[in-house]
Amino acid sequence: MSAEPADVLVVGAGGAGAVIAKRLAEHGAEVVCVEQGDWVDREKLPKAHVDWEVRGRRYWAPHPNVRRWPSDYPVASFGDNPIDVYIYNAVGGSTIGFAGNYWRFAPSDFRMRTLDGVGVDWPLRYEELEPFYDVNEREVGVAGLIGDPCGPPRQPTLLPPAPVGRPGRLLIDGYEKLGWYWWPTEQAITTVPYDGRQACDHRGYCPFGCPQASLGTADVTYWPKALELGVRLITNARVRSLTLDSRGRAQGAVYYDSEGRIQEVTARVVVLCGGGLGTPRLLMLSDSSRHPNGLANSSGLVGKNLIVHVQSFAVGRFEDPVEGWHGTWGGTVSTRQFYETDQARDYVRGFIMSGCAGYSPLNLALQLAPWGQEHHEVLDRYLNHEICMYLCGDDLPEEVNRVELDWEHRDRWGMPGVKTFYRLGENSQRLGEDMIRHAHQVLEAAGATSVRDFGLSPIWGWHLMATARMGDDPASSVVDRYNQAHDVPNLYIADSSSLPTGGGVNPTSTIQALAARCAEHIWEVRRDWRGDH
């Protein structure tokens, strides 16, 4: 160790790490962040090129085993319902490939055990997170509409909703016929110029990169400001292990630099933000005689209770063209008609259904069009005649669903990859089947002449959560209500892994709000780690 310790070391520059770094730097803390990946070269964003669909299957592929960036580690999936894992290791983390759906959790999402007798409660309530939802939404720039009857009243921080186009209008017709609730999808998209970012110009297919920087990926929202505030971001820095001092307090991290040389960075507080797979991987790799089962793992729950959401797509075909290329991909209008537990159903908790646009030509051809003379006829029948609906439901925590180290497959520096084990639980199975049934119903009401869906397996692995969950009891959780590790007082875990349950909506908004709350707490208790007031 040559340098003086920083105030705060953040491990991982993704959606949560960006929040932590920026907010603590704003308060005046000296922050250093190590990130295993690099900045995304915005010239290489797939949608900066006409052949964006092909690029999305190659260097932008969401699965690390396909993409194989130098920053990626191998992931193998096992279990009755193996997960197709989608993560990005870069500045901005997996937000760089997200669609921008940006819902708040509902108050009931924080009280699963109390209300439904399953899973666990969060150690905090919606009301405690609400101010941080507000703060974070202002940073990110969120489009939507105030007045949604599916959530508590809130401050008017939203930008105008994205245009819904013909796909959205058709779905609205369906919802109106059924008498169901619907609402414009909340999206981390600047629909008007905002905070130095351009307004969305409706290129669609958002996960393939947003050259406009209208999509609120963390590399364009938090990171530019964090750097201006003096955060030192070290890219291509793969952490090998977190280190402890002689008293058992977190001391920093040892990492490989881009040349594979061992480096060390020290800090008074360490905040781990490696995501649902990366965080347990690093905790397990940081085992020692003091922590033989992995750092902060006296509960034995590091890597356990992996939640991925019950997810699928339903796709309706309409006789008339639908302008399926038009508008943001992630959502036109959505319904949480079936979000809360209903005793009349044979499962607890619920789901959201979000309208999207239509599949693009290559994607559609690979799905449906046979080779040969019938190729064009089939393509013509479906292209510009389909609307997709993204379906996302609550998934209950189960210890059998887990993450382990994979010593058979290693990254470029010889560190183990990750194995995931997952099976869709009974409640999730029933919820998923009902969710798909309701998607068929609304698409048919909207005028679809046929509906297809993707079923429930393999599992779409966008939302990887709960592998270092928070709770009040150190025996049944890894971190406390402020994301502070029960076992190591100056170690915080503030990413998707800390969520005890996942709600039934896309989690990025909640992950970032929770990170903002954690940052605030770290600053409030600075006397503990810095000695001043």
Binding site: H49, V50, D51, G56, R57, Y59, A61, N65, V66, V75, A76, S77, F78, P82, D84, F98, A106, P107, S108, F110, R125, P149, C150, A162, P163, Y181, W182, D201, H202, R203, G204, Y205, P207, F208, Q212, P321, E323, W325, H326, G327, W329, Y339, E340, T341, C356, P361, L362, N363, A365, W371, G372, Q373, H375, H376, L383, N384, H409, G417, F454, P458
Partner: protein
Amino acid sequence: MAYDRRQADVVAPKDVGGGAQYTDYRLEVGRALVPVGVPRGFNVLDERTAATLRGWVECLIPARDGRPSAAEVGAAEYIDATVDSASNLREPLLRAIDRLQELAGEAGGFASADLAARTRAVRALELDDTSGGFDMVRDFTYEAYYAHPAVLASLQRDLSWDGVAPTRGSDMEPFDEGLLQRVRALPRRYKEVR
């Protein structure tokens, strides 16, 4: 969220799972970027095998009603360039081409056969192939075709599909809040938690 299901089921790193002879091309192409629509020749294939591959991709996506065939937009050259960048894919490609030649028989060879005869041979290869070569050539052909500017222009003309909007943007009408009149009047839909 928007990815194709043929990318799915990637459940293990490259040296796990699958038959020993099967090459899953998806695990090889992450670093093999070959821009579509760029004129290019053949680097890997010789004249004979290149002719076979051209005839093969034409069977996969033939021309129709003003829409070009896959061969006409350079799909064979694109495949050659891809295996040039991902050397583990050369062998499954060359083996599949050799097999296609065998299936076409001696009379004139695959490349000079008419479309119907070639299609029969490709169909036989599809049933016969255990190397992954057929799947790879089919999917690469689709890539080369549906990312090509000439094809996107034909989809715009024939199907009103605006294939350049994702890179250029487009105008849209703002959301009409009047549509929410009924929904806004609905009672609160979330569960209060005390």
